[in-house]
Every structure is written in C-alpha cells, then in structure tokens.
Amino acid sequence: MSGRSTPIARLLRSEQAGLVAIILLMVVGLTLAAGSHVDPLSGRSVNDFFNSYTLIQTATDASFFAIMAVGATIVIISGGIDLSVGSVYALAGVTMGLLLRAHPGLGGAGAVLLSLLVCAGVGLGAGALNGGLVVGLRVHPFIITLGSMWILRGIAFVTSKAESILLPESLTRFAKAPLGLGAALYPVPMLSMLVVAVLGSLYLGRTVMGRHVYALGGNPEASRFAGLRLGRIQVGVYLLAGLTAGLAAFLGASFYGSVSCGDATGYELYVIASAVVGGARLSGGRGSAVNAMLGAVLIVLIRQSIRTLHLDQNYEWIIIGSAIVIAVVLDQASARFTARRLSERR
C-alpha cells in the first residue's frame, strides 16, 4: 500500500489533513456568508472576509499564540505543562522596553537585534528556571509553572512600575515591513509563525532530541530504562517553551509598538488550547508543531467568524470553550475507535 501511495494520498493521510480541511471549510463558509463593502481608497467592492487584509490580519492575530503554542506543544508531548508562557511574554517585552528606554540613542538594526536577543534571553532564562525547578524539586510542572506565572508577571509589574513603555519606530518598521505586499499588509508575524512551526516540526520529527521528547512523554519508565537522560530532556523542553514565548514577545511588542506588564494576560490558556485542538495529548507522547500552529489559526478563525457572521460577541467565550472541549472529546473518541479497529484486526 505504502509503496503505491501518491503525494496527494500521503497529504490526505497526513495528521494535518483534518485540521487543514476544517480551516479551508471555514474559510469557504465565511467567504460565502460574509457581506461586502466598498474600499474607501480604491472604490472597489471587497468581500468582508476574503480579502488580503483580513486574511493576513487573521494570520497575524494567530501568529503570537501559534509561536508560543509550538513551544508549549513540545512541553506537552514530553508529559509536562507550561502555564507561565503569558508571563514570560510580558517579562521579555518589559525587559526589552526598559533596556531600549535606557539607551534612547539605539535605533535601526541595532535596536532590533538587541531586542531579539533580550527577548530570547529572558525566555531562555525563564525556561531554565521552570525546567530546573521541575527537575530539581520533583514537583509537578503544573505547580511550578503556576508559581512562575505569578512570579514572572510580578517582576514585570515591579520593574515597569505598571507603565506602558513605547518602543522605538525601528522595531515597528521591522515587524510591520510590507515586504512588497503593499501598504497596511504586514506579513512578518505570519512568516515568522510558519518558520517557527517548520523548525519545531523538524526538531520533533528529524532530530534525536525530538524523538527523545516523544519517548519521554509516551512512556517515562521505558525511557528511563532505555538510558535516556530524562532531566536534561525536561529542562530542554522548558527552554524551548521559554524561547518561543520570548520570540512571540519580541514580535508582538514590535508589531504593536509598546509593552506593559499586563501583556498576554490569560494567553497561556489560548496557547494550551491551540496545542490541544492541534491534537496534542495532555498525558504526553503525542502532538505536532505544525498542528499546534493550525490549532491556533483555527481558534482565531472561530473568533473571527463570530464577528464576520455578526454573532453576539458575548458568546465568544462559550463558543471557543465548547469548541475546545468538543475537539478533545472527539479526539479521545477517535483514539478509542482506532484502538478498537486495531484489536478487531488482530
């Protein structure tokens, strides 16, 4: 069978096929259901949903969650959880803002590079703290990252004195570079999301470290007996989660042009939801970086559809919450269904 499969058949059998099909169906449905308007500048009639601005804006909105979701998914595959990503985002952004404010002469590429390094550094530092505490104290990661969620946001609060800090223009120009697409079309966050998802996928699927992460989450005891250094793997996954949160902070802060300690409050739940909707199993051993990105896109698309279909926004939380529960319940039903079929074949 596998020897005769075509690329299309392989694509249809891939683990992304289901989510991609749902996203495409939603895009088609929303395009048909949306109204149209006249663009005030060009005077042309434009579909309210299927236009380059809305599509890139939807991808941009998803990109900050999706980048964090790639890291969070790696943690979840290992059997852990990271509740602190929203706070890492806030602390990385605030640290970057304070440093840039302290060096007002810094601009252009220097400011962009410094900001990227600072955000990545803060993210890695927070990841090392989480990983070190999980391994060193042998406390459940839920508790450790719950604590660090408050601690890191508290540090951001104290250091920023709760001020909103404006960032230099050079950062906004970088994050909002049109890359030849035209005015008010900003593809940098979307492209960054794609790059991070591909890198995450390569790490998980094509490297020994990535296979070790699956092994740890799938069966920790067997992994230990196989001689894997579990502590190192655990610290590694939290480092990656911190790094992706730092990168998301760099992009988000640069895109919106300011940072504050309240940034990304509650985003950790969207991030975990993206991973879960993307098929990651909370008990570990299963998940995919590309699926996490697609999960984030799907959640943002559901949010977008509430507005495109002119549904009452007060129903947003109910609809998103229900979609997440349904996705997980169906996923479990799917797993049971597959297991039953396999046992019947035997």
Partner: protein
Amino acid sequence: MSVFFRARMVVTALFAFCALAPACHSSSGPSPAVADTTKAAKPIKIAMIAKSSTNPIFLSARRGAETAARDLSAKIGVPIDIVWLTPPTEDGQIQAQRIAQAVNEGASAVLVSCSDAGKLTGAINDAVARGVPVMTFDSDAPASKRFAYYGVDDRRLGEQVMAELSKQLNGRGRVAILAGNQNAPNLRRRVEGIKAEAAKSPHIQIVGTFYHSETPQDAAAEVIRVNNAYPGISGWAMAGGWALYTKTLLTDLDPKKVKMVAVDALPPELPYVEKGLAPVLLAQASYLWGNVGVTKIIDKIYFKKDVPEIVSMDAVRVSIDNLGAWARQLRQWGFPDVPEEYLKLK
C-alpha cells in the same frame, strides 16, 4: 483514518455552531426602525470599541451610540449601524486587532476607548491611512492621528474628587486613595490629581494609594482590608466607583466616621449617596460617550463639519439634592436597575 474521523466530527460540530448562530445573533446590526426608513441609502458603519464589554459603564455608552445612530439616521435618511467590537476584558492588543478588523470589513469610522494608548496608536494610524477616520472617547491616544477625543480631563476630575472630599472632612483627616488598575493611564492621571489637590490642604494626610482588580468584590475587599490596617482613616478618594457596586460597605462602614467621594454614579452606587457614606459622587455621563461620539463622527464624515480635536466632558456632581433627577436621567439613558424609590425623589 482516525484523523478523518476526527475531522468529520469536528466539522459536524462546527455546523452545529452555525445552526445555533441565530440563537446568539448580534444586536449590532441595524435596528429595524433604521432599516425600514432608509432602505435605499448606503449605510454608515461605525465600529465601537470600548475597553470591556463586562463593564456596565460601557454598555451605557453603547446605548447612547445606538440612540444617536437611530435619531441621526431618521434625520439624514441614511442607515447608521453601530458595530460593537468591544473585547470581553481589557486588552489593548485585542483592541488593536479589532480596529484592523473593522477597517477590513468596511467600517466608515471607528469610535474607541483606549485600554493602552501605546498599543493602539499604530492601529489607529493604519486605519486613518486607509481612509477610515477614528475618534477616541473616555481614554485617549493623543499621539495618534485620531481626529477628536471626547471625555473628561482625568487630572481635573481627580482634583475635583479630593476637593469634594476635603469639604466633607472640613479640611482635616487621613485619606486613602482607591485607584483601580495601575496599568490604566486615565486612572493614574486621576490619582495624580487627587494627590495634587490633597497637597494643598496641610491637614489632609494621604495614607496610601491602593490598587486592585477592577471588580466590585475585589475593590470592596481592598477597602475593608485597608480600613482594618489603618484604623484612623476618615476619608476615601476613589478614582472609580467599583467598591460601591457592592452593598457590603453600607454595613461595614459608619458614615459618621468615614466619608467617600468617588468617580461615577451608576444605579448600584446611589444608596451610598442616600445613606451619606458617599455624600458626593462625580458622574461621567457615559451614555454621552457613545451619543456625542456618534454625533461628532456624523458631523465629520457626513456633514463634513470641522470637529474640535478635544471635546471636553464635565463630570456631573451627584448628591442627595439631585439624586432623584440623576436617577431619572439614568433610567432615561436605559439603565434598567435604577431603584424605584430614587425615581420618586425630587
């Protein structure tokens, strides 16, 4: 196979959501009265983005906007739709996304109260660059290209709060400041005003500024905690009325020992005026945020009139002398929960 099984079921679930859609259909579309009288003309769509849809003060602003839209629509013969795009909780990043979304979906203008001016400045400027005028209300983004702002001068309002409290205390006493969310720039300016005014009275001592989550329960709990910690407090200068949305302080505090002056005078706060615990409230006419905002936008985009950049709103002093008139005003503005006994007062 399991992926397709999951996909089929999730698609089914999404269709179920679509089937449920009529049950939660938005009221943000055109009101029937408007649609009937103005079927032929091209509608004017005004996107309204307040800070939080869970705060009653913004629901009153929405009512004001919808009433102005209905009245002006009948007058000019063009349908005016208010599209409510307020996020459930305060989040500058989400507000920025919703400004972009409003522009993508063909809004004629945007009316926004900024949770974080720094984050919204770029989005406002993008909207203006794409031909969509933006007006701010309640909380401004002064560095942006918005054409006008309508709201109170927050620093002056803070000064008024302290001046009124000082009168109640005969210029002598220990005063605590209830300050809400430390991130909110408008509240910070009110606190600055309170402190500046207090500094003019040599016998007024500020014991501290106390921040809290902007929920009634958290605010009331903070007042009680601080009162226990500083037994000599004789006055509370409140930058917002959150604590007075509960009834608990009516029983926990003695109006003979403590006096309060707060910003806002919504229906749940009125018993505090009657009992003398808060002899004066300084109300923001939140209904007018929407009502005047929409009127100014129509002046700008339909009548092509010049609109002043700052449209100043004065706070309304509410005391036992005008409690009845204020209660009736609130009822007229659409607040359903105004106590009947106050409606009968002079």
